[in-house]
């Protein structure tokens, strides 16, 4: 219990500090989260849900926590050159787990009336009535230790509110910067509320600035109201000493439309747990993911699409390219609850392994309790098509180049689902660089310059 003990001790000692430097809606669920965490402990590979990533060992080392909310000296505009620049977005930063509120007015575009994009802590202080009914409701601390520990320690994060019938034309870009001089743990929180018929596009990028070990937990709760549309892109570009543990809960009402696209371009150890509940009829979900991993990188995506209402559609596609000693895991469950008739659910997971040492686990699952449905899943692990390679070589394309072309083609299927052209173009370029080995570390990091 050593891993658990240090967090139990810290929380017991600093609970007052944590609460004092946060806001009441965030403080309310801490006690229950703490009790749940003590009960659960960290999951190990014996837990079915976490069998491909040993969570406990990730929490064992000592990490610094910024519970006192000290100002970590950073000027994101100076040290940071994001790989997705000039997207003409409303740009915001989260440094570790603190919302960076020194954004010059110029970069914060004019948002429609009533829209809030800002610090979760500040909003919770100023408008607790908006935050409280939604905070820590989808993310249940009783059955997940990562959610529990995040709920215990989280003091701030991102809050987005888009009122009914409000459309934000330009994408909002949030950059998560991990910045520390010592090994560091960040506990970030994201709460997004989309009103009825609201529309928004959001890009979240992860970057690590310093050559220390980072552990970042992130719990996102996303409510998408009737007829609302949300496109959420998450792009991870950190370094090999970073750990990302992200739990994301999406709640979709009738006729809503959500696009999730998660791309792991460069990382250390990543575990993304995503749960989407289709709670109203005719809701649509497009759910795409991609990972490119080499060295000893590890990417684990655990997805759960819950068809709780009739006439909903979900399309899920995840692709992995594993090279060197990388390990990848994909577990995807599609659940069709009783009465969720006319469900269309499709899930595909395709993987390329380039070496003997690379290892892939894949576990698609269908659990179906309604009869008038069309559900399918497919999974493959394999290599590039030898016939295609040969055909290209007879046209004078070198074997290396032919392989690269086929690998782009393989992952482009995921990138092509991006509906933000600037990001799509940028990703084509980044992926090409990544495959050519020119993106060994995050380009934006101070240490790579």
């Amino acid at each position: 219990m050593k891993a658990e003990k240090q967090y139990i001790d810290i929380f017991t000692l600093y609970e007052d500090t944590i609460c004092r430097l946060s806001a009441e809606p965030l403080n309310t669920p801490r006690a229950k989260a703490f009790a749940d965490f003590k009960h659960l402990g960290f999951p190990t590979r014996k837990d079915e849900k976490y069998k491909y990533t040993d969570i406990r060992s990730l929490f064992e080392p000592d990490y610094g926590l910024n519970l006192n909310r000290l100002d970590i000296p950073v000027n994101p505009y100076e040290v940071f050159k994001c790989d997705v620049p000039n997207m003409s977005t409303a740009l915001h930063f989260i440094v570790n787990d603190v919302f960076y509120n020194k954004v010059p007015a110029a970069s914060s575009m004019h948002l429609p009336q009533g829209v809030i994009v800002g610090s979760l802590k500040e909003t919770a202080k100023e408008n607790p009535q908006i935050v409280k009914p939604f905070y820590a409701k989808l993310a249940n601390t009783a059955n997940d230790a990562i959610t529990a520990i995040n709920t215990m320690f989280a003091q701030d994060g991102l809050f987005i509110y888009v009122p009914d019938n409000t459309i934000i034309e330009k994408p909002i870009q949030i950059i998560n910067i991990l910045r520390s001089d010592v090994n560091f743990m960040a506990n970030r929180r994201i709460l997004i509320i989309m009103g009825e018929n609201a529309r928004a596009q959001l890009l979240l990028c992860d970057h690590a600035m310093d050559n220390v070990n980072f552990l970042a937990t992130q719990v996102s709760e996303i409510y998408v109201g009737r007829g609302a549309t949300l496109h959420l892109y998450e792009l991870e570009e950190t370094h090999t000493s970073s750990v990302r543990l992200a739990n994301c809960h999406v709640w979709q009402e009738e006729n809503s439309n959500v696009l999730l696209n998660g791309i792991t371009l460069h990382n250390g150890t990543t575990r993304n747990t995503t749960q989407v509940t289709l709670n109203g009829p005719h809701a649509e979900l497009g759910f795409y993911g991609m990972a490119i991993a080499d060295k000893n990188q590890h990417v684990d995506n655990n997805t759960f699409v819950d068809h709780a209402a009739s006439d909903c559609t979900s399309n899920e596609l995840f692709k992995y390219v594993l090279d060197e000693h990388a390990t990848g895991a994909f577990a995807g469950l599609a659940l069709v609850r009783p009465g969720a008739q006319h469900t269309h659910s499709q899930q595909t997971n395709r993987n390329l392994c380039a070496t003997r040492e690379a290892r892939m686990w894949t576990q698609p699952q269908l659990e179906i309790y309604a009869d008038d449905v069309k559900c399918s899943h497919g999974a493959t692990v394999g290599q590039l098509d030898e016939n295609a390679l040969f055909y290209m070589r007879t046209r004078g394309i070198s074997e290396r180049e032919a392989r690269l072309l086929l690998m782009f083609a393989f992952v482009n299927e995921v990138i092509d689902h991006i509906r933000m052209d600037a990001l799509k173009d940028r990703l084509h370029l980044l992926v090409e660089k990544r495959f050519r080995g020119e993106l060994n570390k995050c380009q934006g990091c101070a240490i790579c310059k």
Binding site: P338, W361, Q363, E367, S376, G378, G382, Q383
Partner: protein, 496 residues
């Protein structure tokens, strides 16, 4: 102008209605084999302890090494818990309330048909088993296992000429101890899982097959299992060894009487396939599934595994699962030899309150090994039907290839169909593909049949049989007919 939601095609509606009607009717379908046999049975007292195991071993006059094997298994079993990972709702089982040995009473082993209890022969005749040699001209050698004891093996002499051993497990222990000792537990260790440990401790009989080098077994070998006595469990064990370049096709059929309480069946099948040998193992499982309310029925917790040990060895599992209240069964293959290949073809039908969690494991260890998985699940009534399968490619299994296809068909809105495949790939040259679909029975197809004058019930029968054809075609002729009949009994309860 009507909105699309309001518009309903009356003919489709009728099809739906009558198909619901049909589903209701099949839910009331009767179990055909639910008679009990009135014969004297030697049952030992209920309960499980080392003393029980010593008693079983003593009754069977077993050698010490086998008793030791049982006791080791029992002690290990005591340290284990019932597995809970399956998508099953298993009531608590009181292992002390089961009798672990029930043998049809007799003075000595029968050597000819006349000496077998006539009631027993009647039972097997009712089952349609060609026990009598005149009747088994269809070319099938039968070993019949009643409760836990092998009562009769037909055609034995004919097989002996070829050097083939096909006898009860007990007989094999007495007459071929070296073979049994060499292979027993070599594929399914007593430590393997809870039910395997239990079986290893208390197994009472079963079948033993040995095909010598270069011999093609000229006929289908077959075992019929029947649980008869009340309050007993059946724990048989099958061991099949195919030596180099040999071939055998083995069939297994199962039935049980209708009883209100649940009966436990925890069997082990071990198969060893040597160089260039081939084994086909077919099962038609029709244990009593319980009544329409889900009362009674057999708990079928079976460990079946083959090791394709030799180069280019081949193992094929085919199963048609229509019975049992609960099925927990994963006939598996370890592909050890280079160029070995394995197949798993399965049709699992669940109705009423039946639960099935079944599938396979393909463990690729050798180079250029190939496996194919075709699974067809059909759920009706309030049943739950799950496919669970693992494909693992070890680091040295170069050129491994797997193709899996799992389809589920749902009849009615109260049932569930689930697919849980696991893939663990540790070799970059592997090509592993999995596909699964779940759908309801196609109403257009039913309507098309209706239009051609075929009733909805018949249409569903036709469609289901067509859907399962790929698997049924893998069964030997004699069995395919029975399997089709069984599908009819399970799903076309109202017909005939």
């Amino acid at each position: 102008m009507q909105s699309p939601n309001q518009y309903k095609n009356p003919s489709t509606n009728k099809g739906l209605e009558s198909s619901n009607d049909f589903v209701r009717k099949i839910a009331e379908g009767k179990y055909k084999y639910g008679f009990t046999t009135n014969i004297h049975t030697d049952i030992i007292k209920q309960g499980l302890s080392e003393a029980t195991i010593r008693l079983i071993s003593e009754k069977k006059q077993e050698p010490d090494w086998l008793l030791e094997f049982r006791l080791k298994a029992y002690r290990h079993w005591l340290t284990m818990d019932m597995p809970t990972w399956a998508h099953l709702n298993i009531p608590n089982i009181d292992y002390q309330a089961i009798s672990y040995y029930a043998a049809p009473q007799k003075k000595k082993a029968p050597s000819s048909l006349e000496e077998v209890d006539p009631e027993l022969i009647k039972t097997f005749n009712k089952l349609g088993i060609p026990l009598e040699e005149q009747m088994s001209l269809s070319g099938m050698a039968v070993d019949a296992v009643m409760d836990s004891i092998s009562v009769k093996t037909t055609y034995k002499e004919h097989l002996i000429e070829k050097g083939i051993i096909f006898c009860s497990f007990n007989e094999a222990v007495q007459e071929h101890p070296d073979l049994v000792k060499k292979y027993l537990g070599s594929v399914v260790s007593y430590r393997d899982n809870f039910f395997a440990a239990l079986n290893s401790a208390v197994f009472s009989d079963g079948s033993f097959v040995y095909i010598p080098k270069g011999v093609r077994c000229p006929m289908e070998l077959s075992t019929y299992f029947r649980i008869n006595a009340q309050g007993t469990g059946q724990f048989e064990r099958t061991l099949i060894v195919a030596d180099d370049e040999s071939y055998v096709s083995y069939l297994e059929g199962c039935t049980a009487p209708m009883r209100d309480e649940n009966q436990l069946h925890a069997a082990i099948v071990e198969i060893i396939v040597h160089d260039y040998a081939e084994v086909k193992y077919s099962t038609v499982q029709n244990w009593y599934p319980g009544d329409i309310e889900g009362k009674g029925g057999v708990y079928n917790f079976v460990t079946k595994r083959g090791n394709c040990l030799g180069k280019s060895s081949k193992l094929s599992w085919t199963q048609v699962e229509t019975g049992s209240a609960i099925t927990w069964k994963y006939p598996s293959c370890i592909l050890t030899g280079d160029d070995a290949s394995a197949e798993f073809y399965s049709v699992a039908v669940t109705n009423n309150h039946q639960q099935a969690d079944t599938g396979t494991k393909m463990i690729h260890l050798g180079r250029n090994t190939k496996s194919t998985i075709i699974s067809k699940g059909i759920s009706a009534g309030h049943s739950q039907n799950a496919y669970r399968g693992l494909v693992r490619v070890a680091p040295n299994a170069e050129g491994a290839r797997n193709y899996s296809q799992c389809d589920s068909l749902l009849l009615g809105s109260q049932c569930g169909a689930h697919t849980f495949p696991y893939m663990d790939i540790h070799n970059e040259t592997a090509i592993v593909e999995h596909e699964a679909t779940t759908s309801k029975i196609n109403e257009d197809q039913i309507f098309y049949c209706n239009q051609r004058g075929i009733s909805t019930e018949d249409a569903i029968g036709l469609i289901v049989n067509g859907y399962a054809k790929e698997v049924l075609n893998k069964l030997p002729m004699e069995f395919a007919v029975e399997a089709q009949k069984l599908l009819s009994i399970s799903l076309e309860g109202s017909i005939g």
